[in-house]
Amino acid sequence: MSDIATRPAPSLLASPMVRFGLILVAILLAIAIGVRLDPTNTLYAIFVDPFQQMVQAPDLLAQTVWEGLVSGVLYALIALGFVLIFKASGVFNFAQGIMVVFAALTLVGLYEKGVPAFLAVIITLGVMFALAVTIERVVLRPLVNQPDIILFMATFGITYFLIGFGEALFGGNPKQMIADQLWLPRGAIDLKILGGLVTLQKIDIAAAVIASLMILLLALFFQYTRIGRALRAVADSHKAALSVGISLNQIWVIVWFTAGIVALITGIMWGARSDVSFALEIVALKALPVLILGGFTSIPGAIVGGLIIGIGEKIGEFYWGPLVGGGIESWLAYFIALAFLLFRPQGLFGDKIIERI
């Protein structure tokens, strides 16, 4: 054990209890001072009013939570793509977001060319497979054994290439997802609960169900198939996996293809809710805070993290956003993740970080 050890925390502040206490004291102090100095009751508006609203109009709260839940599911799907690739190849795949866009664009583009919808899905899957093979051949194989950061940068390169490629092929304009043709439901269900109306879009329900099914399938795949076992072996140690005869190249193609399937499904769901455009590339960056919360290697972590971020940012935007002029959704997720990091640098499900020397 002489060389493995947990590192002592850097300072007094490191104890979560102490930090939590300090933050609590700071908030209480701020309220106390604020109430005195602040005739217009800004602090009331920050610390009391939103909660009152939540209690007084539970239907609005439920609606907000539901919307958060749905965007959370989509964040979780993007994060899932990241996790799959990170687990199996140690690559932090920045290109997952653009893969979602690319898959959706290919699907819609094919349909516009006159290919029947379901055939288009199959062809798109083929394209994603070709993409996986190409990435493995052209990018991963020459870069094997390079430091993580280099591979991370290489996925930036993939991102840029796919942006240019996608725009050149399909044009930069937003497109309509072919939701009807894929038998996805549309319309909404109005629930009369909590003394008001809560509107659930059918497509959102479908998204949640399909996402759950896919996650279940992936879990089974990882747990019970030969390839799943090989994947887990590769995730633990490349060298050890090689030494028992697992082909790294084959595994990589499989995970990138799996991530491509996840990307296509995410793209369909996302596209059906809004439209298919390159703006999604920025949204995909939100997978980063999701991964911070859930840990980079944990599939359940990605899901829970996605839900926390999704619900957290919707509630934050709805109840606190108006106080500062709105639009805080664009950065709230990152601050939620940062706040978590200060308490648990290893994420929700990660193991304690061990430093060795």
Binding site: M1, A5, T6, P8, I357
Partner: protein, 271 residues
Amino acid sequence: MNAEPMTMTGTPIRDTGEVLLSVEAISLRFGGVKAISDVSFDIRKGEIRAIIGPNGAGKTSMLNCINGFYQPQEGRIVFKGERRAKMRPHRAAAGGIARTFQNVALFKGMSTLDNIMTGRTLKMKKGFFWQALRHGPAMQEEIAHRRVVEDIIDFLQIEHIRKLPVGKLPYGLQKRVELGRALAMEPELLLLDEPMAGMNLEEKEDMCRFILDVNQQFGTTIALIEHDMGVVMDLSDRVVVLEYGRKIADGTPDEVKANQAVIDAYLGVAH
């Protein structure tokens, strides 16, 4: 210069000074694992103190405690007559403790020269704005320290690799550069974690010579971990033996060699 002959029997009869550092009943746990339990020993000024023991005995953890990288849960460490509360590693460095590492921990992207110059960081005082100008006082300071570093480079005979990035050097040279970097801090106490691991005989002999020279020329107190018993017995004034985180013997090399617990620990004992 005290030209004390090192006798072949391995028991140099030397006057060592007062206690420089004493470890008093420290225990270190990682979760449920006890890495060190209730170990006490001291290091006297000017001596070479060896810490030996089988793999996993807690030797490196002990060094990590001494220079503040780990904080033991129990016990205390007194350095230069001063009890240390929780201490950050850079405070230990400022207090005059330098070390080398079991697996070479050099700054791989930097040249040999820069690596050793880094050891002078604490001694360089000129502020940000002088550094930004790199003329006048900051340059004079830089040159003064370069002179010291060049002396160390001469001493370790690594002139030829001065400007090469250390990442590409062979292992033995890397170990030497690391020693140079520690020496550049002009430490009072130098901790060496397996300075000869992975070296061939010739490199080992060189390294032994350097360690003795450092000890005799600069009067630096040295605590070292080493697995090569021949080296340990020849170099050290006193030896402390750890096993499973406990101290099982402490004394001159001859005493330790004759100690039954040590023999059992190394050769195994029939249960």
